[in-house]
């Protein structure tokens, strides 16, 4: 149950909570929202059809932008790294460097930030618009649980799809890198990919996957929270979309720092 700032009829005057009080109310509401997500998402009835539709929407909506960005990142990263490595006669390390950089950090971070902008804003605006035009209330009164139908499916879809997009970004980035490498050296695609992947450990792969799952969950839950709780008409919709992006991006950077520290503990 959301905490709202309503007074009971018997109260003569309502005191507005302090800034600290409002912060705790917001934190409690976020906690309740997340707790409700876990309850609604994993208890029947399931919204399988809507979940698949959302996975397709999120993947389809982001694929072109992610492909372009991933490819350009691969090309530019390789081009910029070449002079430094060539000073030491180590250009043969380029594939490994690109592979590690892309898989461990660039692909999860890039995908997360792009999806926060593209998917997070879209979820925030869509749900915000549905809230202010009473479409969510209309679902409620037609005996449909809107939280399960709208929120659970979108958060789950983002959590499932972002890791897939992350590995797709890494792959496209490596193709960009291969293009750049091929322009300067004669190397086969097989040799390039072998060299790129040989330095990547199971821990690196796990860390990237876990990070991408967390980023996806963050994008979904922030977008849904902002949209589902939006108010004040069209201004509220804009604010929901904007907050969904800004908050998700900020949290993604925080989570990146924490995960680097955390997975660093497992390195020998």
């Amino acid at each position: 149950m959301e905490i709202t700032e309503t007074a009971t009829a018997s109260e003569p005057e309502e005191k507005r909570p302090s800034a600290l009080g409002r912060m705790f109310i917001t934190l409690y509401n976020v906690y309740s929202f997340i707790a409700r997500f876990f309850k609604e998402a994993f208890l029947p009835p399931y919204e399988g059809k809507e979940l698949l539709r959302q996975c397709y929407e999120i993947g389809y909506r982001s694929a072109l932008l992610i492909s372009t960005t991933g490819f350009i990142t691969g090309v530019v990263f390789t081009k910029q790294s070449r002079p430094s490595l060539s000073e030491f006669g180590a250009t043969s390390w380029l594939p490994s460097l690109v592979g590690i950089a892309l898989l461990k950090t660039l692909a999860p971070l890039l995908t997360g930030l792009i999806a926060a902008g593209k998917v997070g804003s879209s979820i925030g605006a869509e749900l915000g618009s549905m809230r202010v035009t009473e479409q969510i209330d209309a679902m409620e009164v037609s005996a449909t649980n809107p939280f399960k139908f709208l929120v659970s499916t979108r958060v789950l879809a983002a959590t499932i799809t972002i890791p897939i997009l992350t590995f797709y970004t890494a792959m496209v980035g490596m193709l960009g890198s291969l293009l750049n490498v091929s322009m300067f050296e004669s190397t086969s695609a097989k040799a390039f990919f072998q060299a790129s992947l040989e330095q990547i450990t199971f821990l690196d792969f796990t860390a990237s996957t876990v990070k991408a799952i967390i980023f996806g969950f963050t994008i979904g839950i922030v977008g849904c929270y902002q949209g589902y709780n939006s108010s004040k008409g069209t201004e509220g919709v804009g604010k929901a979309a904007n907050s969904a992006v800004v908050i998700a991006m900020f949290l993604i950077f925080v989570e990146e720092v924490i995960s680097v520290q955390f997975f660093g503990l497992f390195k020998t």
Binding site: A9, E11, A138, E140, V141, S142, A143
Partner: protein
Amino acid sequence: MLNKSLTDTTAEKVIQIKGLFKSFGNYHVLRDVDLDLYRGENLVVLGKSGTGKSVLIKIIIGLLTPDKGRVEVLNNVVDEITYQELLALRLQVGFSFQNSALYDSMTVRENLEFPLVRNRKTLTKGEVNKLVEETLDAVGLLQTINQMPSELSGGQRKRIGIARTLILQPEIMLYDEPTAGLDPITCLDINKLINEVQERYKTSSIVITHDLTCAKAVGNRVAMLLDGKFERQGTFEEVFNTNDERVKPFYDYNFIK
């Protein structure tokens, strides 16, 4: 226009509200509201904008929670039932929104199918199609079946909104400002539709409005919300046969201007 008969007050009460309070911040909207809806009647709730008319029906359907008081709908105390029981109760109570609240990413057909396929899971595809077409026909808009809500006029959107609630064949209908923002001719059509719904689907209804033409056309009984309470209830004539300065301007504006 259909002939309206007076309410049978010996009939079963489908909604009973006792001592209802609701505030938003320091703004006390509803103060000790008592109201009954009898089976088969159309009860019109009148009042100025911002007097809590819509809040009242949102409390009845469980979209808002009261600060104090008891709301009983079809023998269920709304505040005391579980969420699952509330969802089941909502199948028996239709709610027509002021702005129609159609799902704007779905066609008219999908709007009507949405509550049906989720709540009547045993229906075949053919039965769903038949029900959708029958209900659209009942509101006179079968030809819009494949259109998007953005392609419809205000009056058409209202009708589709009503059709979407009727498709679940509720016992009670709650209309929130059904004629707001519509031209006079379309208002008459909507009034006629409300009466037809009562006749055809045997519903008991609460109609929220500040349009006295609508109130007169559809109401078996009228209740006027004044200062957060229902101080005047009865037939249209009983309610407006008064020198109360809070009521008279309402009548004068609508019928004398």
